[in-house]
Amino acid sequence: MTTATILSRKGVGTIALLALAALLPLAVTEPSQQNFLILILMGAQMGVAWNIVGGYAGQVSLGHAVFYGIGAYTSTMLLLTLGLTPWIGALAGGLVAAAFALAMGWPCFRLKGHYFAMATIAVAEIMQILVTNSDALEGAVGLYLPMDQSGWGVLIFLSKLPYYYVILGLLVLTVLVSWAIERSHIGYYFRAIKDEPEAARALGVSLTRYKLIALTVSAFLTAMGGSFYAQKEMFIDPGSVFATTISIKIALIAILGGVGRLTGPVLGAVILITIEEYSRTLFGSTGSGTDMIIYAAMIILVAVFSPSGVLGLLGDLHRHLGRHLPGAKPAGGETSAKEIRP
C-alpha cells in the first residue's frame, strides 16, 4: 500500500466526518441538543489547542484558562467600548494571549514537569484575582454582551445553528493548525523535546524556542475559543472564564481522548462533555451529589483502565485484533502517547 492511497483514504474519512458534522444539525434540531453539540465542539477545540503544547511538546499546562479568559475579555471589551466586531476582536484576543504566552513562557519554561504545571496554575490564578479586582474590566461584576443586537457582524445569534457552524469552523481551523504542526519539522522537534530533551539539545534544537512556539500557538487558539464562549453565553465574569477548573477541564479532555494525537481531544470532548451533561441532567436535580459520584467514577475508570486515553484503548484493541490479521505490523507504542516526566 502506498502512502498516497493511505492519505487519500484518510482524506476520504476526514471529508466524510466533516460532512457528517456539517449535516448533523439537520438531524438534531432541538436547541438544547444543538447546545449540547456546541459544548462538545467547544471542549474539542480547547482540547486540540491545549494538545499542541501539552501533548506534542509535552509541557503540561494547567493554566490555560488564562488564555481563555484573555480571549473572552479582549473581544468583549473591544465590542463594548469600540463596537469592534468579534471577528477582529477574537483575533486581537488571540494576539494578546500569544503575547502573554511569550512573556509567561520565557521564565516558566525554566521549570520542569510538576513545577511547570504548578507555575501555570499560579499565573492563571493571579490573573483571575487581578481581573476580579480591576474596575476597568468591571471586576467581579462581569461583562454583559448586548442582548439587543444580533447577526453575523456582532456574532450574536438568536438560534443555536450559527453558533454551531462558527465553533465547528473554529475547531476545523484548530485541527488544521495542529495537523500542520504535527506534520512539519516543528512537530518533529516538539516530540523530540518531549521524549528526548537531552538528545534534542545536543542536536542543537533550542528547547525554549520550540516550547515557546508551542505555547504561543496554543494560547492564540485557546483565546479564540474564549471569545466564542463570550459570544455564546453573552456574559463573562472572572470566575467563569479564568477559573482553574476550566484549565483542568481542558487538560482532562485531551487526556481522556489521548494526549498527543490529533483526534484524541475531539474524542475526549465527546466523552467528557457527554458524561458531564448527562450525569447532571439525569441525577443533578436530586441535590444528593449523585451526579458527581457518577461523573467521578467514570473518570477514575477511564484513568485506571485506559491510561493513555480512549484512543490508546482503541489502539490496544486494534493491536489485539491485528495480531491475527495478515500483513499487520507488529505492535508498537506510539511515541506521542508517552508520558511527560521531569
Binding site: R110, T290, A303, S308
Partner: protein, 288 residues
C-alpha cells in the same frame, strides 16, 4: 501601624501557616515516594473533619481526644485508595494520574454530599475553646492547639522517616526504588504506607481544625490550592521543605493581606511562589 498589631498579625500568620504545613507534608510525602500529585488531598482533610464531627456527634468524643482515631481511620482510607485506584495507575503517564486523583477528588466530595448532606457543620463546644491573651496579642485556643498539633505531627513524621527502620525504608524507596528493592524493601508496601501516612496527616489536620472551621463536603477546595503552593515552594517531596514553606506561606498571606489588601492575599502568595521558582526551579528544598 503599631508594633502590637504587627506582632498580632505575625502570630496569626504563624498559626495558620503551621496548619498549612501539616496539610502539605502528607501531600509532599506521597509525591516524594511515588511522583504522584494527589488532587484529592483536600478531600482527605475533609474526611478527617467529618470523622471528628461524627465522633463528636454520635459518641460525644472530643475532636482532640478523637485524633488518634481520626488518624487511624484516614490511614485506612489512604491505604484503601492506594489499593483500589492508585496501584493500578502506577505505570500510567503523569497526566492519567492527575486525571485519576482529580476524579477521586470529585468522587469523595460527591460521596460526602450523598451520605452526610451538603450542610455546613461545626463542633459546637470542644475541650479547647476560648482565647489566650498575651499582652495585647490575642489568639484562639483552638487555633493554638491546632498549630501545636501540627508541629507535633510533623515532628513525629520527621522522626519516623529518619529514626525508624520502616521510615528509613520509606525514604530509601523515595530516593531510589530499584536500589531499595534490591535491599529487600517491598515497594508496593512502601507505596501503600506513604498513602496511609499522607492521608493520616491530612486527616489529623482536619481533626485539628474541625474545632474552628466549618465542615462541609467542599471544604477541601478551600485548602488544596494553598497546599499545592506549599508543596511546590518547599520542593516536591521534601517534608522539611513543606514545613518551612507552610510557615512562610501563612506569614506572607496574613501579613500581605493585612498590608496590601485581603483581596490580593492569594495573589501575593502565588507571586512569591513564582519568584522563588525562578530563582530556585526546584523549590526551597526540592531534590534534583
Amino acid at each position: 501601624m503599631t508594633a502590637d498589631i504587627l506582632i498580632q498579625v505575625l502570630v496569626s500568620g504563624l498559626l495558620i501557616g503551621l496548619i498549612y504545613a501539616l496539610v502539605a507534608v502528607g501531600l509532599t510525602l506521597i509525591f516524594g515516594v511515588m511522583d504522584i500529585v494527589n488532587f484529592a488531598h483536600g478531600e482527605f482533610l475533609m474526611l478527617g473533619m467529618y470523622a471528628s464531627f461524627w465522633a463528636f456527634a454520635i459518641f460525644a468524643i472530643d475532636p482532640i481526644v478523637a485524633l488518634p482515631l481520626t488518624a487511624l481511620l484516614l490511614f485506612a482510607v489512604g491505604v484503601i485508595v492506594y489499593q483500589t485506584v492508585i496501584r493500578r495507575i502506577l505505570k500510567a503517564p503523569m497526566l492519567s494520574q492527575i486525571f485519576a486523583t482529580f476524579g477521586l477528588m470529585i468522587l469523595l466530595r460527591g460521596l460526602a454530599q450523598f451520605f452526610w448532606k451538603p450542610d455546613h457543620r461545626l463542633i459546637p463546644h470542644s475541650l479547647v475553646s476560648g482565647n489566650i491573651a498575651l499582652g495585647s496579642v490575642q489568639f484562639g485556643l483552638p487555633q493554638f492547639v491546632a498549630a501545636l498539633g501540627a508541629v507535633g505531627v510533623t515532628g513525629a513524621l520527621w522522626m519516623f522517616l529518619h529514626r525508624t527502620r520502616l521510615g528509613t525504608a520509606l525514604e530509601a524507596t523515595a530516593i531510589d526504588r530499584e536500589a531499595a528493592t534490591l535491599m529487600g524493601i517491598d515497594g508496593q508496601k512502601m507505596f501503600a504506607l506513604a498513602w496511609g501516612i499522607g492521608a493520616a496527616c491530612a486527616g489529623l489536620a482536619g481533626g485539628l481544625i474541625a474545632t474552628f472551621f466549618p465542615i462541609f463536603p467542599e471544604v477541601g477546595s478551600n485548602f488544596i490550592l494553598i497546599a499545592f503552593v506549599v508543596v511546590v515552594l518547599g520542593g516536591f517531596g521534601s517534608v522539611t521543605g513543606a514545613f518551612l514553606a507552610g510557615i512562610i506561606v501563612g506569614l506572607i498571606e496574613v501579613l500581605g493581606g493585612f498590608l496590601i489588601g485581603p483581596e490580593y492575599k492569594t495573589a501575593i502568595v502565588l507571586s512569591l511562589l513564582l519568584i522563588v521558582l525562578l530563582v530556585r526551579p526546584r523549590g526551597l528544598l526540592g531534590k534534583a
